[in-house]
């Protein structure tokens, strides 16, 4: 008896490319893949009807693009000092004003996007992968391994993230963007482990997993070929929303002086410098603050839309 495990990813890869679907060992799927409605196709169609989610995606894309193109944009060098121009309010010469060293705020915020946004995405990719893998192993292997991983996760989750991140940063010898990012990664993996473990526990109860085990597939193969491809939606949504959380947490660490150090144009550090200067120079803290807020709101809108799009029960609401 041939048992074909549902492999949503395989089906998705072939979507939109009728005729190119390769027939694989199971032999059933390839023939119909071209015309079949796929989960991803459905999700994309739903997403297209959500203006807020698209707007969110647009905002994030715009920041990434601005950051990427910063060196070729017609803006000043972010570290170019013009002491005669210091602390200028927003106006004709400098649209968003200048900081206490006369550096142009627009250019510093745009260069800041090169740090904050990719750093947030990278941290979540790494910590998400690490936590998911641990959670998958915990859920599939069970027993002492499960207990060890999940109790470690519980312990980390019992510290408020910023306090643990502060302790880790301090233990690594003090301020620095790398220390801050490492700390953010350490405090965020356990949630992925929890979500993934729950999914793996649910999926491994399926008959096709039992069948794979029964025909003698080794454990790693079962985990990676049969279980992991069926998990995704909640983790993707969570990761999207968490990029915002990681950006805010990193900026928060910079704000209290434990993250990026001058002259890095990091948004949190810029807000701190602005706050230290005084409230009369409102634009100094306001401009990077608006940047952070727009990214986080963009990610929240997009993440919420994605959740609705990926969850068949919520579709159409």
């Amino acid at each position: 008896m041939a048992i074909a495990p549902p492999r949503p990813h395989a089906a998705r890869r072939t979507s939109g490319a009728p005729g190119h679907a390769e027939a694989d060992g199971a032999g059933i799927k390839g023939a119909v893949a071209g015309r079949r409605r796929t989960p991803l196709g459905d999700a994309m169609r739903t997403l297209r009807t959500k203006p807020l989610a698209l707007a969110g995606l647009g905002v994030i894309a715009a920041w990434l693009l601005l950051g990427l193109l910063a060196p070729v944009l017609p803006i000043q060098d972010p570290n170019h000092q013009a002491l005669g121009d210091k602390l200028q309010p927003p106006g004709a010469g400098h649209l968003f004003g200048t900081d206490d060293l006369g550096r142009d705020m627009i250019s510093r915020v745009i260069y800041g996007a090169r740090i904050s946004v990719p750093a947030g995405i990278l941290v979540i990719l790494l910590t998400g992968a690490f936590g998911s893998l641990l959670g998958a192993v915990a859920g599939y292997v069970g027993g002492a391994v499960d207990a060890l991983i999940m109790r470690a996760a519980d312990a980390i989750l019992s510290f408020p993230s910023i306090i643990l991140a502060m302790a880790i940063t301090a233990a690594r010898g003090g301020p620095g963007l790398e220390n801050a990012l490492l700390a953010v990664g350490v405090v965020l993996w356990p949630e992925y482990a929890r979500v993934m473990r729950g999914q793996v526990l649910a999926i491994r109860a399926n008959e096709y997993v039992t069948a794979a085990e029964a025909v003698g597939a080794d454990r790693w193969r079962v985990l990676f070929r049969h279980i992991l491809p069926s998990t995704d939606a909640p983790l993707i949504v969570k990761a999207t929303l968490d990029v915002g959380a990681a950006i805010v947490l990193t900026a928060g660490l910079s704000f209290i002086g434990l993250g990026a150090v001058p002259p890095d144009a990091e948004w949190g550090a810029m807000i701190k410098q602005g706050a230290d200067k005084g409230l009369q120079y409102w634009w100094y803290a306001a401009v990077p603050g608006i940047a952070i807020m727009s990214v986080v709101m963009g990610l929240n809108f997009f993440g919420d839309g994605l959740r609705d799009a990926l969850d068949p029960r919520r579709r159409g609401r």
Binding site: R151, A171, A285
Partner: protein, 339 residues
Amino acid sequence: MGLWGFVARRLALSVVVLAMVSVGTFSLAHALPGDPLSSVISERQANNPEVRAAFEKRWGFDRPLPVQYLYYVRNLLRGDLGESIAKRRPVSDELKQRVPATIELTLFAMGFAVLVGVPLGIVSAVRHDRWPDHLARFLTLIGTSVPVFWLGLLLLYVFFYRLQWLPGPGRLDVGMRPPATITGMVTLDALLARDWDVLGTALKRLVLPAIVLGAYAMGIVARMLRSSLLSALGDDYVRTARAKGLVERRVVAGHALRNALIPTVTVLGLTVASLLAGAVLTETIFSWPGVGSFAVDAALKLDYPGLLGVTLVVAVVYVLVNLLVDIVYGILDPRIRAA
């Protein structure tokens, strides 16, 4: 499972988590660069041979690691968290003074979260997909998206610097005598001392930090209540209530809201963690003499004993709050006990 069995199991689980927490802070203390003594005393003290010998004995630093851990736990149980380098006094003394300030701020922040979040959630659900709903959702989104430190600066700029409606950072006016310390919470102490001037000032100075700290929890409460009230409004018993001819207000307040509040209460308990985390930044902006600003101070001055003390205390509080929330939830909803 009976209620007591459930409580006993949750208690046992909390003890396990607390043990893991202590292993966590112990490992952090040993991950510190340099001298292991730096996790309990300053370098200056460690250079004094007599002090050094006394602390090595007290903390078992001359023993193997597992034995050191037992010393560590013993000292923790005695309330000994080492000496703060920045404050030059025992960490536990410093914390005793600062914990009430943070509790006071957190309580007011939760008050704000409930007083604003619950009405927003109800309006959102009852006027589903109409403009009050959109407005309420926008407000909750602001609450959950705006970084705490930025919201703090924004409100200070508008209400303190520009409009001058509210006082700036600090717990009391400069030169104002705080009331005699009974609880350590200025508002409560002033109330007990019937010192209305101090009470008024303290309350005014709590408004901005409480809003800033509570904004996130407000967003979460409103969102949760909206979604659970929406689903409750679609349930059969609500249809029955409507079919009986009850006015809509009684259907919502008397029937649907009661059930919708259960998950909201749980979520509110869980936001305590976010409040403790937010307190770090809020207290920094508003010069609030609580645990959070102490943690920042300690982290910047590499005051490891101070920072580890805060980390541990906050984690313990968090675990206990979660335990409490779980037990309350178990009482409210018996199905949870089986999970």
